[in-house]
Amino acid sequence: MLSATNIALIPLLPLLGFVLLSLFGKQLKPFAGVLATVLILVSAVLTGGAAWTYFFANGRVNDVYQTIIPLNIEWLRFNDQLSIQMGLLLDPISVMMLVVVTLISLMVHIYSNSYMHGEKRFATYFAYLQLFTFSMLGLVLATNIFQTYFFWELVGVSSFLLIGYYYDKPSAVAASKKAFIVTRFADLGFLIGILVLSFYGGSLDFQTLIQQLTTPHTPALDAANKASFLGVSALTWGLSLVFIGGAGKSALFPLHIWLPDAMEGPTPVSALIHAATMVVAGVYLVARLFPIYAISAPELLAAIGWVGAISAVIAALIACTQTDIKRVLAYSTMSQIGYMMFALGVSGYGGEAGLGFTASMFHLFTHALFKALLFLGAGAVIHAVHSNEMHDMGGLRKQMPITHISFLIACLAIAGVPPLSGFFSKEEILLAAYQNNTPIYWIALITSGLTAFYMFRLYFRIFWNKPHTGHAHEASAIMWLPLVLLAVGAAFAGLIPFGELVSSDGKALHSELHLSFSIAPVALGVFGILIAAWLYGKQNAKPASIQSSLGGLFQAVYHKLYIDELYLFLTKSVVFALIAKPAAWIDQHIINAAVNGSASITQKISSNIKTWQSGKVQEYGLYFLGGVIGLAVLVLYIW
């Protein structure tokens, strides 16, 4: 099951789908959805087989999960040391991610068959989805940091295409551009980080790189530590730049501004890309390079933990105030990714210290399930009421029972209510934070209460609050089937003994659940749910009065702390007005003027000289005479 062909087919099948659908989209339009779904289904089955074989049969040697590279092809050689290899790398985290990506992608494909039915660009939509799935799988399987970058950009562009799918909507166009440019800006950091790391590590290959930069006292590591720029060692520079790339993709503060806007895309896309898979690429990247971070730059890793914690709490706060249900979910995603990131930040490498790493990956896994479920559920609701706004909803539990139940399961899971999946992964994260970094633990605890509150605010406002007046009805079976499947996953995924499978060093990590430790977060979560029920269970005036009593504070949070405005100011007033305009002005008025000036000087001189050519014979005679006399004087007296 782990042969190169089998593994290679996992990403290549969606690529085939992309090629077919983009070239023959018109002819294939009626079958586009089925074709794409079948291809992903095959991929998912292959992934399932591979994962089973890896985790339970071939992957473990001497109780340690091995890194298996079934295929590695040289794609572009730069010089003797550096080359881009395209390959397939299997280790616990990549196999886990394969499962996540193919599973969620499959669900989204099935769901889209109904959700996007009747769209004019139906085939194009599936072509883009396939392109995204291919790129994401390529990213996950990368053996080489440049391969990661390669697919990193491709997922970026597929995200751009899908956000801008409704291309005649100006807001969608703006959102797609914003998403691409912000992540691109972060990718600049990633790229330079790659250059720095590869220069010292002497390779672009993950394994060599990690080995070179973690083994103490290798010449590579010494050089990277010794070389410094602005007082910071080259290694730290490289790693933090790579992290900036990851932060951009994973929408961490302050590079998160694109994620809420990205909700302009079709809702299944938000479920796949902006909740479950692409946005966790940053976490995956840090996890992939985790040994370097943990062993060679622990201070930086702690700083990353702080970035994650701050993102988590800020996003949770903002999520409490938004009224667009997809935006609430987007901020919730950002918050949960912050969770994963600080879990990595509080983790060490190997053994018990690596609890944070396992917890982070565990949360990545469970989050993918319940967040995709939330988005798909929200999609079903939006499909039914034709609006994203909470005030158009309410009381939908009767009309949409299946959506209601699955949504409730997801909300309970994300709120960390036992025994749903989110409870287990969150407990592990909190435990890791508690053991290593108490301030982060407190932040996380507060965030977890906030999470329960805003999720249930969302839940009550959609399904309770006021009686429903419209004609909303339950989604079709094709749409609720994925909801049910994901709900089962979200409910029971927590029971997987994750520490046995995924850990920072490949050895099994036996984590236990301390009941006494769980009391605080669960109590806080339940408290959040109760407040939400009290405020939003029935339509009343309490939320509005709280809003007005908070005044400016509420407004600031509602306006996302004015970070968007800050960016807008920076781009409009600084980049455009202070750099681009002057550059163009200099080009026109200095450089081009110099060119034109030299031309006009030549022209002036020549037009002055040409009057000497008057056409009057006598003038010529005079010049001639002058010349003769001048020559005579020259010859007779001067020479």
Binding site: K610, S614, G615, K616, V617, Q618, G621, L622
Partner: protein, 102 residues
């Protein structure tokens, strides 16, 4: 006794008179006549140098004869041009023919 200097003085005066006439007169015929003056001042020089400096050689005389012949041909050509000019411009004033500029 008339010496070489006297003759040179005359010829120089004649030369510059010719030049002056060539540069100032507007009538082409007059200009042509001025050119003849210039040529003749040169002839005068040749003859004078032959007489006073190199009586044995005949070069000066030959050149004079040559110049006279050329001057005749030149006058013929020039007058032909002037006639043509008159035909096209209805004038033989030199500043009416200034098309060959710039």
């Amino acid at each position: 006794m008339i010496g070489l200097e006297h003759i040179l003085f005359i010829s120089t005066a004649l030369f510059f008179l010719g030049i002056y006439g060539f540069l100032t007169r507007r009538n082409l015929i007059t200009m042509l006549m001025s050119v003849e003056l210039v040529l003749n001042s040169v002839n005068l020089n040749f003859i004078a140098f032959h007489k006073y400096l190199w009586p044995s050689g005949m070069d000066g005389v030959f050149f004079t004869v040559f110049v006279i012949a050329i001057a005749a041909a030149e006058a013929a050509v020039a007058i032909a041009i002037i006639i043509n000019l008159y035909k096209t411009h209805r004038s033989i004033l030199v500043d009416t023919a200034e098309e060959l500029k710039y």
